[in-house]
Amino acid sequence: MSSSGHPKTTYDVLRAHGVDRRKFLKFCTLTAAAMGLDVSLVPKVVEAMETKPRIPVIWLHGLECTCCSESFIRSSHPIAQDVILNMISLDYDDTLQAAAGEQVEEIRRKVMKEHPGEYVLAVEGNAPTNDGGVYCTVGGDTFLNVLRETAEHAKFVVAWGSCASNGCVQSAYPNPTGAKPVHELIHGKPIVNVPGCPPIAEVMTGVLTYVLTFGRLPELDSFHRPKMFYAQRIHDKCYRRAYFDAGQFVEEWDDDGARKGWCLYKMGCRGPTTYNSCSTFKWNNGVSYPIGSGHGCIGCSENNFWDNSPFYDRLTSIPVPGIEATPDGVGETLAIAAGVGVAAHFASFMVKKGLDRSRGRDAESDE
C-alpha cells in the first residue's frame, strides 16, 4: 500500500523501481493492446502515464465472497502487481492490506478528505438494506453507510462483479436481507458495472487501466457495462458454435456428443443469452473457460442469473413472480383450456340444436 500524500505519476513510480524508458514504453504498448486500442493511441497512454498523477483508489468489500479479488490478483495482461503497485494508488482495501482497525478507516477518511472528486471507488459486493442495513457491517458501521459516505466524493464508482452490478446470489429470490446492487443505492455518480461471478481478471485490470489512462469511463451499454468487454454474447464467439448451427447437441453428460464436444445448448448453456468475454479472453491466462471444459455457461454475468436456475434446463420458470411453470407448461395449459372451452361450447350448441329439433317435432305432432 502506498501513501496517498504524494501525487506521483506512474512513470515516476516505475523509474523509482528501476524500470528504464525502453521497458516503460513496452509496458505502455502492452497496456494499450490489452485495452484493444489502436497503435496510434500508444502515445496517449505514454503521455497519461508520464503526466497524470496515479489515481487514488478506495476498494470496499461489502456482502460478497471475495472471488472478484481472487480473480483480479490472477490478471496476467497487465499483471495485477503492476496495476496495484505502479498504476493506481490503492490506498484502502480491507482484504489486501496488512493494517487493520481504526488506522485503516482513518486512511479511508484521509483519502476522501485530501482527494475529493479525484479518487475512484471500487466496490466489491453489495449492501443489504433491510433493517437499516445491519446484515453487513464494516468497522462498526453498516456497509450501506460506508458505501454512501465513500461514494459521495468519488470521481467514479467501479462496481466489481455480479454482486455490485446486479445483486447476484444475495439478492436472488426471496432476497431476505434486501441486498441491492450499487447502481440502485448510489445516484448521480458515473458507475461502471463489471459483472461476472467473478469478472474475468483481464477485464478488471482493463477497466482500471482505461480509467487511469483516459481519466474517464469507457463507453458503456444500457446496463452500464463497458462495451469493449461486454458487447458480445459468449455464444457468438464460442468455438462450439459450429455444432449449434449444424444442429448437433449434447443430450446427456456422458453421451457421444459430449465426448465429441458438441454444443451444450440443450444442457442449459446460457451462452446465447450471456454478454461476457469468456469465449475471447478465456480464464487463468487463457487456459480455458466453462464451455471449453465441457460444462455449459451458467450466465453468471447476467441480471438475476440465480433466479434463472436450474442451470441445466434451457427454458426454466417463466419470468412472472409467484408462478412456477415453464413457458411450455403455461402455453400447453392455456391451449388445453381453450380447447376445452371450445368443445364445451360446441357440445352445448349441439344439445340446443337437438332440443330445438325435438321441440319442433313436438309442436308438429301437437298440431
Partner: protein
C-alpha cells in the same frame, strides 16, 4: 334484438336464394393477403420456433456438413420479416382501406362499442343469433387487436431484439435494442418470446372455432369471405358496426 335480425327461414332460402341473400364486398384484397400471410407465417414461425427451442434432429457426421439449426433459424427469420412487412402493410391499409378495414379497432371510448362487446359475448354464450355485423363485431375486433396486433408486436419486438444480438451496435440493435434491458436481460426476452408464441395457439383454437360457429349461426359466409372478400346478409338484417360512424 329480434327486431334487427331476420329470422333464418330455410324454406324461404330454398324457394328463392337470390332474393334471400344479399352480398356485400367487405374484405378488400390487402386485408385478405394480410390474413393469409399471417396464417402461413405464424404457423411456420411457431413450428420452427419449437425446433429452435427444442432441437430434436441430430445430424450425424462432421459439423461442417450439416446446417440444420442454422437453416431452421434462417427460415424463422425469413417468415418473421414477412410477418413484419404484413404488419406495416396493415397499418397503412387501416387508413387507406374501406370502413370494414377499421371495424376491428377497439373504440373503447364509445358506449356503443362496449354495448356491442357484451351483447356479442352474451349471444355467443346463449347460443343465439344476435346482431349482424358485416365488419368485425366488437368482441372479434378486440380479440384480433389483442391476439394479432398486440401479440404480434410483442413477438416482433422481442424477436427482433434477439435477432439484433448477433450484431451488437448494428441497425436492429439500435432500433429495438431497448427491449432487452426493459425485459431485464436476454434470458427474459427469450422466455417471453417463447411464452407469447403459445398464445397464438390459444388464438388459433378460438379463432377457428368461432369463425365456423359464427358462419353457421349467421349464415354469413364468414369462412369463404376471407378468400372471396364477400359476406352475405339476409333481408331485414341491419349492419351494426355502429361505432364506426
Amino acid at each position: 334484438m329480434a327486431t334487427n335480425v331476420g329470422a333464418f327461414r330455410p324454406e324461404e332460402l330454398a324457394a328463392s336464394p337470390h332474393r334471400f341473400f344479399r352480398r356485400r364486398y367487405v374484405w378488400q384484397w390487402p386485408i385478405r393477403v394480410f390474413h393469409w400471410t399471417n396464417a402461413i407465417s405464424i404457423t411456420v414461425l411457431f413450428l420452427t420456433g419449437l425446433y429452435i427451442a427444442h432441437p430434436i434432429l441430430a445430424p450425424a457426421g462432421e459439423a461442417y456438413k450439416a446446417f440444420v439449426m442454422g437453416r431452421v433459424r434462417q427460415i424463422h427469420f425469413l417468415f418473421a420479416f414477412i410477418f413484419a412487412v404484413g404488419f406495416i402493410w396493415r397499418m397503412y391499409w387501416f387508413w387507406m382501406g374501406n370502413n370494414y378495414a377499421r371495424s376491428g379497432f377497439p373504440f373503447f371510448w364509445r358506449r356503443s362499442w362496449w354495448q356491442d362487446l357484451f351483447r356479442q359475448l352474451g349471444d355467443y354464450l346463449h347460443l343465439r343469433r344476435g346482431h349482424v355485423h358485416l365488419g368485425h363485431n366488437a368482441l372479434g375486433g378486440l380479440s384480433y387487436t389483442v391476439f394479432v396486433i398486440a401479440l404480434g408486436w410483442a413477438q416482433l419486438l422481442t424477436g427482433l431484439a434477439m435477432y439484433s444480438e448477433s450484431n451488437p451496435g448494428g441497425f436492429w440493435s439500435s432500433l429495438v435494442g431497448w427491449v432487452i434491458p426493459l425485459a431485464g436481460g436476454s434470458f427474459q426476452v427469450h422466455m417471453w418470446h417463447h411464452l407469447f408464441a403459445w398464445l397464438f395457439v390459444v388464438f388459433a383454437i378460438l379463432h377457428l372455432y368461432i369463425v365456423f360457429y359464427d358462419g353457421q349461426q349467421y349464415k354469413n359466409g364468414l369462412v369463404t369471405s376471407m378468400i372471396s372478400g364477400v359476406k352475405f346478409y339476409q333481408e331485414g338484417d341491419v349492419d351494426h358496426d355502429s361505432w364506426l360512424s
